[in-house]
């Protein structure tokens, strides 16, 4: 099972109203650059539980999900 883990996110807000997450920062200080956002849609976080706008992002070659729910961002962390 995965665990819902809230993270700090650095994002860009475009003139058109779009939000592009650029970097994810973990509690322990590690930070990951987001290379690309591949998809954005509303979706449940099936593994960890939760709901929100789901960003499919590529981080150092790996595809993963980043969720935004009412202003808070979270990832599904492996337990």
């Amino acid at each position: 099972m995965a665990r819902r883990t809230f993270v700090k996110v650095v994002a860009e807000f475009s003139r058109e109203g779009g939000i592009t997450p650029l970097r994810v920062e973990w509690e322990d200080g590690r930070s990951f650059e987001i290379d690309r956002v591949l998809d954005v849609r509303r979706a449940p976080a099936a593994k960890a539980g939760g709901y929100g706008t789901r960003y499919t992002v590529r981080v150092s070659g790996h595809e993963t999900y980043l969720f935004e729910d009412e202003g808070r961002w979270f990832v599904e962390a492996r337990e």
């Binding site: 509303r42 449940p44 539980g49 709901y51």
Partner: protein, 408 residues
Amino acid sequence: MRTVLHSDLNNFYASVECVYEPKLRAVPMAVCGDPEARHGIVLAKNELAKAAGVKTGEAIWQARQKCPKLRTLPPDFKKYLRFARMMREIYADYTDFIEPFGLDEAWLDVSGCHRSGEEIAGELRRRAKEELGLTLSVGVSFNKVFAKLGSDMKKPDATTVISLDNYREKVWPLPVEELLYVGPATKRKLQLRGIRTIGDLANCDVGILRGALGKNGEMLWNFARGNDCSPVLSEGEAAMVKSVGNSTTTPRDLVNDRDVYLVLLVLSESVAERLREQSLRGGVLSVSVRDCELNTRSFQRKLRRPTALGEEIAAHARELFRERWYWERPIRSLGICMSGLESLADGVQLSIFPDADERRYDIERAVDDIRRRFGHGAISRASLLADRRINEINPREDHVIHPVGWRG
């Protein structure tokens, strides 16, 4: 020929909880209200609890007898409303004719879509699963009554088509109480006349039904034969919520008007706060009173204009109580419920004295704000200081939302 869908979100409250906590899918679980603190009821349950025989509406202790390991969760109405709204947005991609039936059900008229009802039903189910993590049962038919029957036939996550060609085989063998508006009393009257299935009803002489049930008899006869031409209404969001209410069992029995007024004030304020939170106003007030021997009475009144002001609700509640209650016994619990709701999002009738009204709303909104930021006890009415114990009731945090199945 119309194409009408009836869409039903399976085990709605319980399913939403599972979206947030997927582990709950693996254990029997029920969302339970706790209206009287001393005995809660099951509002919704997941598939495992259903398999163990847990029924919506029964008391938690009854459910626990059948299913000792039942996990119970308190309801989180805000979450459910959010998901109901998102589902509605999905419906709106297909049609404007959306008639909600509580939070978890809706009729859709998709006649103008140039696609088959079954195809749309499949797409709705796929999208609900992908976008919301919920499953739907959808009935597809040529009228509302059969569409609703269809959505009840196969659960969860299924489509049932009832067409002109197959309704005799699919609908007629069903027991008559499956039909919309056939409650226990009607069922009894029909059974006395040997009518047990919907087919019996359809093939019965309409004169007999008219004699037994009056105009309703003829209506049911038509329903059973597929002659239901009631339109799918294009209804606003307010129709999703039927009522907002609150009740409480007081720490001690209430013995005089003054006691009651205090409790009514607390309840009115919390109902009003919730109405405002959802941008709703209520036009019909009911006050329910349960005495120490557990007899319940309830009184109702239509207000001159809909309101979401605690003070106004409390004033009406006091009046209603004074007119109708004669103090035969002390009171154990009190409830207030507002129905006849309209949503500000759908437009409202304005008052001819808008300024005075607006000021009162401003005051109550300011109180909402303070409570949201600093807690419920941060501000309260001086009159409530008269009895600290009554003031300790915090109905805002332990209210209950009745499922639609309770419409009776």
